[in-house]
Symmetry: C2
Subunit: 227 residues, 2 copies
DNA sequence: CTAGCATTCAAACGTTCGTTTGAATCTTTG
DNA sequence: CAAAGATTCAAACGAACGTTTGAATGCTAG
């Protein structure tokens, strides 16, 4: 048995992952070449293939490095507030907070490159390439199941199908907010000063999502009846 | 003066645009090669450069062909309901309906390739490439200004900055919903049967967005005071 | 009919891509 | 110290990319 897995961390590996995170976010996967990537990482061109095997494997590694930790943190936060509630059902606001809080806290710490990854992740939700989507889905599955159960417990009167759609809308809003931080200007004349005040953004997002999640159901019943 | 501009439409041009719409949606811009694109369009490899000048110019043409019409339709729909209201301020629901109705109606007509474009558009909102973003912003600007004014008239009591953010969230939800039609399954066990019932989807989306737009403001005031 | 322009075509252009190679260098281990 | 393995390096590989070219073909106007 070799002891390679116990050796100190490979500096080059993490430098490549950091560079990939930033460049993938800035230019996308295909537009980022191994040459500019390894140049930014201060590594040789062959380093990526040596350490990861291929460019696709590098992409996968970039997601694995962060996504597992993120979803673990989300579940931990959810269980923390559940403990606090001592058996009583949580409020929707608490569940929402447990999910988006992790994203926004990561968006905040620029020093760790968390922002790069957060924006990359937001963009990749709508990436058309099948294998990437499948990987994301697989890495998200446990947290998704957990939060769905929590919402069902908090909103027992809401039809399951409607809940799924509203969760879909909520993730969409979050993904878009994380990815398109400068599209706010598109709407017109927005001073981007407080764009990165994560606390204020979290409050805004929470208010919007909570209201959307709890939107009245009656108007939907009309449409369904008409059909 | 030559009369080229009065001649019958170039079949090849539109065939290329249609093929580009579908392939860009399926694989993205960079991953779509001129060779597979022209092959799908039944045109020669050199046809794109002959008719459009370059691949980038083709991308721009794909957006211009649909986006102008879409935003014109949006503004027309908004003015129609404004006429109906006869001077009284519109309800938020009416304004939301004027905006998303055009998108969802286009998503419905699969025969015209509208679905391809709609999904492509949703994906491109979060595209990192600067020139594409700039083009989208430019093509959206008139409609954006118009709808922002309509919302301000409908919600005079809402702070401008807060309105901008909520519009941002709304567009995010719409963009994500259009782009990631199969991500609903990610949440778990969703039967995709009614996914393309545009009437039901519109009702769901409207209920969610209206509630989010009208979310109470008090919780935000607390955060701002604390800061 | 034919001259002139628009369009199509097959072939090739130079560039860049991801990956591979085999030797050189660093690091660890016996 | 010496052998073995891990890592880095410069160089090259074939393939695919977007684009250009110049001749062939289609179409229209005089």
């Amino acid at each position: 048995m070799n002891l390679r897995s116990l050796k100190p961390p490979h500096e080059t590996r993490t430098r490549i992952l950091d560079a990939a995170e930033e460049l993938f976010m800035q230019h996308g996967f295909e537009a980022t070449s191994m040459r500019q990537l390894t140049a930014k990482a201060g590594a040789n061109l062959a380093a990526v293939n040596y350490h990861f095997g291929s460019k696709d494997a590098l992409i996968e590694a970039v997601f694995r490095r962060r996504l597992d930790a993120m979803n673990t943190a989300r579940i931990a936060e959810l269980e923390r507030v559940e403990k606090e509630a001592a058996g009583r059902p949580l409020s929707p606001r608490q569940i929402i907070g447990a999910f988006i809080g992790v994203s926004l806290r990561m968006l905040e710490d620029a020093k760790d490159g968390g922002r790069n990854f957060t924006r990359l992740l937001g963009r990749t939700y709508s990436d058309p390439q099948k294998p990437i989507r499948a990987l994301i889905g697989q890495l998200y599955a446990p947290a998704m199941e957990r939060f769905k159960a929590a919402f069902e417990r908090a909103l027992p009167q809401m039809p399951r199908e409607e809940l799924i759609w509203r969760m879909h809308f909520m993730f969409g809003t979050l993904a878009y907010t994380l990815a398109a931080t400068d599209t706010v200007q598109l709407i017109a004349g927005c001073k981007p000063e407080d764009r990165y005040d994560a606390r204020l953004l979290e409050a805004r997002l929470t208010a919007f999502l909570e209201a959307g999640l709890l939107a009245p159901l009656h108007s939907l019943a009309d449409v369904k009846k008409a059909a």
